[in-house]
Amino acid sequence: MKIEVLYFAWVRERIGEPRETVETDAATVMDLVEELKSREERYDLAFSDLKSLRVALDQELMEFDSPLEGVREVAFFPPMTGG
């Protein structure tokens, strides 16, 4: 399946781009993270500490063990600092 993957704030800076289309069979967010980490070092750098990351699936906050089935957009970012 094809998934749009978005990155924000320092995650975007470490990956080096704001978004990309990823072809993957990952079952969960965690599987996708592992797959990306094995591809290139910059992903390893961005995903080194998952506790400091948040994930949204189709623009809704979810968990790293959430399934990816039917999901079109995945976003990774640090804890939000609005207000």
Partner: protein, 145 residues
Amino acid sequence: MRISVQSEDFELAQVLKGFGKAPNTGATVSFTGLVRDDTGTLDHMEIEHYPGMCEAAITKIAEEAGTRWSLTDCLVIHRYGQLRPGDQIMMVATAARHRVEAFEAAEYLMDYLKSRAPFWKKEVTREGADWVAAKEADEDALKRW
């Protein structure tokens, strides 16, 4: 209810014109957040946002506030982009039958906007640029609701 995620500045008086005019409104509260420069070294702040999710997340937060405090009106404006010290970043306004509801709902909106709306602040000073880290206190603030 009005939600706006925008780069442009806003004029408080103009925004509040016509706000909370329902006849059962007895109180309105508005809060405005500004770019603060604690050390005198801040050149500007960059606010990054997640278009689409921002509006969805804020709408959800505002709807929840509206239900909990029976608000008669509710408004949230949050800016993104490059902002300088003293610039307005965001505002919330609530309207309710009584002041307690209006004040509490405004605080609830603020607490949730801080850590559940997808914005990220980066401070650019003369020494360099750094992402503002989320504070544990902001996460703890949600527990009281």
